[in-house]
Every structure is written in structure tokens, then in C-alpha cells.
Symmetry: C3
Subunit: 361 residues, 3 copies
């Protein structure tokens, strides 16, 4: 494999291997401290994200490598109208591996088509963030000793929460998984996630409206932030906001070995009083993030480069259907082919190859 | 000692030691060029300051270490509402030592409570800037061969000048020090500095309104910039501004071995014609800044980490009095305890533990 | 030589030598991978330019050196009113070599006067960009095997195009050069370039209005972008813009070994369909840019520093004539001497030493 765009680009075996290498690095960091000597990671952050960027930079420095890049688009050639493809072709001259974050969905796919060096998607709009999911998997693996037979509570914004959708997709491949989906009515997991992942794979789940009713059965509690802007009615936000805040009181009936997680940054959805509870795993998550990124960089740099191409699909619609999602990279990238793949040919249902927006022809 | 928040965190002996190590580095930089190999300094600049940031980065690179961080808050998680404490806990996963600059007073104290790695205060609002003071002390030590028996002229904005207050506090611990305070009426040294430091320690000083009358007796002349915004009446600024500008003419009766200093950047308060005068020490100051920061990083990394806590005080008021200083970190940090210490219990006078704003209960 | 401000600071022999070293680095990069160990490059970008900055950073890292700096002026001391000269004097304490980009013409000359370490001009306003020209020369040398006996087509904005003027100046020193100048009427090469370089050196050239008529004879085609803002009449821009866009159709009658170049970023002036044509050299140009910068850094660091001074001219007018070019560094730098050199003393014609704006006294 050459790029990491979506967590599902990695097989279950490959994820096991990355977790194994990460654990080895944690056990003996000195052994890896020169592994990437002479190599350069380019952190191309077209949209700022200090935590993710610093995690990647620390990972590469801890491997003995170097880093260059930019931390926001204002100061990059993008402001001059340069395409993502051209930026990537140029950076191919300066680095050995790229970690990129872009506000438009599908931008890393465009990048991977233009690149001879590995692309790691560090977040594309509200679409994918595979290294966050790898971080979550390593954290759970270390705290629980396994990735199967777990009851996982997902709490907060399950409608727009990118990390939540990715975690569901990742865990759908393990056995004995049960989800408890804890959110306001308005922010429930979207239908297509239920249809295409949960129901399709026969994964049991239930939807509840309060943390308290879910708490006693959870092995993992994954908290996410609910933003005021997600509510059509601000009064509804005000009414609901505290129901999805975790505090010591709500933990009263939780399992003794519950693993409490949060992708961070947290604002108020976990009270700071929870921080000293031994079940709080969210800062350990940040540390795991550095180690799994180290393992990922090692893996991608070790692989022989292959010519880039989009996955082959039996039938590709090229410039026959046009994506109208304003968040898709096709809305801004010049001279880009609009590519759709059929998901249901009989009914003419197809998805944009970049952002996965679905349409019917 | 584990953190450097205020120059008075260091004893006179510790400062001597840092000066000694800095001089050793200047004499033999190659000896130290791998001292911090494999170590990472995080420069967290929530407010920009190129000079200070580059000085720290050069220091760490010259020690064979690496650097990561951010240079302004806009692109950091702060914009998303993350607390300083959480940012620090996360960066603890990525680095071995932190240098932070923050616009709010007391922010480094919050950081030190959340951190297991050393915190160096690179400036908190108009409050402290201890590495500038260390820089000043090293410069004077190298040019004068001593830190006692000196007549020190402080010129310019003595009311808001953070580096001036810190220098007074630092020099108050040496013998034979005399201050000549040269400023407009409106920008004189604040009463509390006179009361709590100068008078308390019996340090002679006099206040004058012109550079000329002070010049002949000075061993050190420390220039600071007077900003238009500090004057209630703009006409007053116009009337005064040139009185506090140093030029060759004003140096006519200065001692031959006068040491002229300025924390930089300078705008017009020292004429460029003074630059080639052998008494101009301000660019040498910039060089000293790098070396003393190298010595400081070495010292802090060598010490065994201790659990963080605020200094113990006999009586701490926790969440009984609330700080109303809008420049204090307590005005923005969520779920932070408001802590006050008595300075005069009989009269109910106490100070905010973070920003030192005084109040009466 | 100690600084690189203008391509003509380098002799033809020095350029040959840089090209030779660059080729050696390309052939054996490992040999150079520790050449600058322990050295620091400061990238001082008072105006953003990601491509150029990353190219310099990759160059220094590939030499085993380190990098520090800033990527835009907002976060630097410039915002506080610090002069370029003072910034440079300070950075002299932190680095061994400086690459600077500044929006004001002549700023690197001010920098070189204040610096004891080499200054590389990474672009000053619309004035010079010598490392771009070195990049172009290396690219042509590698693709054509020579820098003489070439018919060079320059297409697009020849009036404001800094890289075009520099390339003309550089190639004027080689034999057998012919230029074909392809541009809209409004954006033709300025008269002074024709007079002072082309005519003066007897270099044949012709001006045409379409790419098609020039194409068959060209050995090199150097494309530049035409910006709407350069046209007084927007309708004129609309009328013309596609005439100067390169596509496969226009390449129909081009030589088989034509070398197509562009300084990048490109927006639409070269169709992406040209990218896969073997004659497209513009991404190879980006790679050459890194290598020639590596050769340049090695050369400048190897030379013994000499005290800085402006070139000596027989007659220098100091503070007698004042530059009124708002784009010149003299418009913002405090306490700077205005210096003019005669180009035609009889007629009282002289040029600003910084920005070269011509005036008559």
C-alpha cells in the first residue's frame, strides 16, 4: 500500500501490524531514533490543525527524520490559485513522504494521483481522518488488550462527527462489537452509516438519548463535542447541551475498567474533574497518536513506490456526471476529471470518487 | 527547580551558574553541539514574537536538539476554545521542554501545573519575561565583569516596561546597586515597585526627567521604547518623545566604558549613529540571549522532574476571591480555580496567584 | 563573493561551477548529506512564498543542516516597526546564512550592509529573484547540454515578469543566443531591457503576438502567467488571455526536443494535458531548484566573510537625490541613506542603488 486516505485502505492484518510496531516503539524508542535519518516529512496543512501537525512532526523527529511544510493555506501558493496536484508535484521534489490536511473532501485522492511519494490524509474536510482512527484503535488495544468483544458508546455529535463514522467503519471488521449511540435526536448517526455499515455487517446497536442509561454496559466511551452551530434552533442546543457532558456523577455506574476517550480538543464536554479518574484515556490517546504515526511513516517509507492511480472500478463515469458538493475538491481544482462510481447500477445510484457524495443519474 | 516563570524563581547562585555555563558555551560551542541530541523543544507562541522564538530555536539547534511548535494562536487549537492546560498536556506527548509566550498574565503558571516537562515563560502579557532578564544579566556580566557595584540608568517607559521591572527585581539582590530612573512624569516606575522592591531592600535611586543629567554617572544605560499609546494626551507624547531618544550628542559626557543596552526591537529611541560606538551593547545582547537560553535548557533538562504544584502558602484563598483583571489567564481559562495569596492578612490585602493583581477582601 | 542579490553578481565561470556542483549532488546526494551539519539557514520571508521557502529548506536539510525563520511579516518584529537592518543584525546571532524574501525592492542590499553572514535574495518585490534564474539555467543546461546557441521563446507577461528580465540578463552573456518575445502589445519587454541589455550586447530578438508563429524555431519555451490586473482594460485581457495559453495543439509544430519551462505556480497558462508530454520540463525545474540552492549554500558558506559594503562607484550621490519609488525599501526603512549612482553623468541620469529606479537630476 502506498497512501493512507481512508482507514479502510488498511486491512485488519495491516492494522494489527501497525499496532504491534507502535507497541515496540513505545517499549524501545531508542531503537527507532535513527530509522528515518536523512528522510523528510512534508506537513502540508492547507487548513490549520496544531495538534495533528505537531503529532506528525514529533513522530518524524523521534524517528531521526526532518520536517518542512506549511501550517495554513493563506501563506501558500494556493492563494495564488495553484492546484493541489501541482503543489503535490512540487513538494515531491522536497520530501520523501507527505501528511496533508485540506478543507475540501477528496483532496488527498487528487494528491495521491499526482504523487510518487506516499500521501497520508491528515483530514479532508468533514470526510476522513484515518490517523485519528488508528490512534483510537491503538489506545483501545493498549487499554483493553483486544479489539473484539467490546461494547462501545459513541456520544455527542454522531451526525457530523468524522471520527465517529471512521471508528464505526473500522470496528465493523471485528467480532463481538456492540455500539450504543448516544446523541440528541438531531445529531443521530446518518442513515447511510446504519445501512451501509451497521446493518450490512449485522452489527448490533441501539440509539439512546442520555449518557446515564448507556453507562453501565460500556467498555469504551468515546466522547465528541456538540457544537451550537449544528442546531437549527439555538434554544434546542441550550436545552440539550448538558445532557451530553461527562462528569464524575455520570460515571457513578460505569464499569471499573471503562476506557473514556475523546479526540480532543475538548471544550466542556468532559469536565476537568474526570481527568484524574484512572479511566480517563484521552491524554494517553494523544501519546498513542504520536507512536502510531511513527509506525505508519515507517511502513509507508519501506514500501516500494507504485505508480499512482485511483482504484479500478468496473464502471467509471468520467465527466458524465458532475459533483455539486461545494465541499468537494472538484469545486475548486482546475482541469480535474469528475469521476463517479456506481454503487447501485440498476437504480443509477453512483458516488463521487473524491468526496463520496451520492447522486442518481 | 523545574520551571522558569519569574526571574526570582532562580537564586543568585543559580544565575551565577547559568552565566558560567553560558560563558563556557561561548568559549567552546562544539563541546555542547550534541548535548540535546534526540531532545525536542516545543515553542508555543500563542502571541507572536519572532526574536524570542528564533533565539530559543537557535539555542536548541545549537545544542543538537530539534524544535516544533506554533508561532501564533490563530492557527492553534486555542481558536477552537481549548484550554492552556489541555494544550500543555497534549504537547507533553510531543516534546521534552516547552518555551511558551502567552498574551494573558499567569498563563505559564497554569501550564506548569499541567506539565510534567519543564516550562520556560517566554513572556506572559505585560507580566514577566525572565529569559530577557537572564540575557540582560549575562550581557552586563560579560561587559562589566560583575553584577554588583553598578549605577544603572533605566530610561523610557518605566511604568509599563516589563523588562525594566524584572531587571530591578533581579538587581535588588546584588550589593552596591544604584538606579537612576529616567522617564517622563507619566511613565515613572510604579509605586509598588518602589515600595516592595527598592525601598524594602534599601536600594538607592533617584528619578530624573532627562538623559543628559543622568549620563555622567551611569555604568549601564538600559533604553526602552516610549509608545504614543501610553499617553492620555497625544500632544504630551509629541512634546516629550525626543527627550528620551539616545544619540551621539547625549553620549558626550558618558563614561568611556558605559554599557548601552536595549531589549529590542528598537524603533527610533536609539539613533543608528550610536550603533558603531563601542559602548553599544544591544546587538551583543541578542547573541547573549541565545547562549543563556542554551544554558537554561541544559539546566532544566538535567533536573529530575518533580510533580507540579503552586508554591505552598500558609493561607490560600481558593475560589473565595475572584480575579477581575481582564489580562489575567483566569479571564479565559475554563474550569480554573481562582487562587489568591495574602500579602497583608491583617488588612485583608491579597494577590492573584497567577497575575499578581492586588485586591482587598 | 559573499551575497547573491542579483544574478549578475555571479560571473559566467561561477555559474558554471554551481551547475557542476549541482550535477555532482544529483549524481551522489549521499556524499553531501552531512556537508552542512551544525549549520543553520535562516529563511526570512517578510512576504510569503511557500515554493521558494520549501525549496531552500529542503536544500539545507539535504545538506545535513538545520533551518529556522518566519514565513510572513505579520508575525515578525516588522509589525512593531523594526528596520530590516536591525532584523538582520539580530538574525546574525542565530544563523550561518540567510535567504530572504521582501516585498520592497532593494531590501536585500540593506540586509547585506548589515550582515556578516551571507545573504541570498529569495525575491525582492518585482525586482530580482536570482535563485530562480540559477534554477532556470541548471534546467536548461541539463536538458540541452549547453547554455549557448539557443533560440529562447519568452511568453506571457514580459513587462512585469521579473524572472523573464533576469533570464535575459543572464543569457546575454552567452554566445549564439536568439530571443523570440511572445506577448500582448501591452505587456512587451520594457524599453530599458532592450536598450541596456539586448541592443547593447547585440543579441538578436524579435517580438511576436502569437505562440504559433514562434513555435517551430524554439529550443526553449519559457511560459509566464498573464494577470488580469496588468491590463488597463479588462476586456482586452479577456480578448487576449487564451492566445498565450500553451496546449497540445499549439505544440504541433514544435521541435521534438523543445524544453517547456515555467517558474510556477501555474494557473492555466499551460494546460495540464501538456504535463505528460516529454518536453514538459517545469516540474523538473522545481527539482533543479533544490539542487542549485544546495550548491549555492555550499559555495557561500565556504567563502571567507568580508566586511559588507555597497559596490564602490566612482560617484555616489548620498542623500542628495531621494528615491520616490513606493516599492523601494527606502520608502519604509528608518534612517537609511538614499544612494544614487550615475548611469549617464553628462545627462544627469542616475539610478537608485537599492531598486534601480532611474531619475534625472
Amino acid at each position: 500500500m502506498r497512501n493512507l486516505i481512508d482507514i479502510l485502505d488498511l486491512s485488519v492484518e495491516e492494522i494489527d501490524e501497525l499496532i504491534s510496531v507502535a507497541n515496540d516503539i513505545i517499549a524501545d524508542p531508542v531503537k527507532y531514533s535513527e530509522s528515518c535519518k536523512g528522510k523528510i516529512l512534508a506537513t502540508l496543512f492547507f487548513e490549520p490543525s496544531t495538534r495533528t501537525r505537531l503529532s506528525f512532526e514529533a513522530a518524524m523527529l523521534n524517528l531521526g527524520g526532518s520536517v518542512l511544510g506549511f501550517s495554513e493555506a493563506g501563506s501558500s501558493s494556493t492563494a495564488k490559485g495553484e492546484s493541489v496536484a501541482d503543489t503535490i508535484r512540487t513538494v515531491n521534489c522536497y520530501a520523501d513522504i507527505i501528511a496533508m490536511r485540506h478543507p475540501k473532501e477528496g483532496a488527498p485522492i487528487v494528491a495521491s494521483k499526482a504523487s510518487h511519494i506516499p500521501i497520508i490524509n491528515a483530514g479532508d474536510g468533514g470526510h476522513f481522518h484515518p490517523t485519528q482512527t488508528l490512534t483510537d484503535l491503538l489506545t483501545i488495544s493498549r487499554h483493553k488488550g483486544r479489539l473484539n468483544d467490546l461494547t462501545i458508546g459513541l456520544c455527542g455529535d454522531l451526525k457530523f462527527g468524522r471520527t465517529v463514522h471512521s471508528l464505526i467503519a473500522a470496528f465493523a471488521r471485528y467480532s463481538g462489537i456492540k455500539f450504543v449511540l448516544i446523541s440528541p435526536e438531531e445529531l443521530r448517526v446518518p442513515e447511510y452509516v446504519k445501512t451501509e455499515t451497521l446493518d450490512k455487517k449485522g452489527i448490533p446497536y441501539r440509539e439512546v438519548k442520555t449518557l446515564e442509561e448507556a453507562m453501565p454496559e460500556l467498555d469504551i466511551l468515546y466522547m465528541t463535542r456538540i457544537q451550537r452551530e449544528r442546531f437549527a434552533d439555538p434554544a434546542e442546543y441550550e436545552r440539550l447541551k448538558n445532557s451530553f457532558v461527562l462528569d464524575l456523577e455520570k460515571l457513578e455506574h460505569a464499569k471499573k475498567d471503562l476506557c473514556i476517550m475523546h479526540p480532543l480538543p475538548r471544550v466542556n464536554e468532559i469536565s476537568t474533574k474526570v481527568d484524574s479518574d484512572p479511566r480517563a484515556c484521552y491524554f494517553d490517546q494523544a501519546l498513542c497518536g504520536k507512536y502510531i504515526r511513527m509506525a505508519l511513516i515507517l511502513k509507508l517509507l519501506a514500501e516500494t513506490p507504485v505508480p499512482c492511480s485511483l482504484d479500478e472500478h468496473e464502471e467509471e463515469l468520467v465527466n458524465k456526471v458532475f459533483c455539486d458538493n461545494p465541499r468537494c475538491i472538484t469545486s475548486v481544482e482546475q482541469e480535474i476529471d469528475h469521476i463517479f462510481h456506481y454503487t447501485d447500477k440498476e437504480n443509477g445510484v453512483c458516488r463521487c470518487a473524491y468526496c463520496e457524495a451520492q447522486t442518481k443519474i
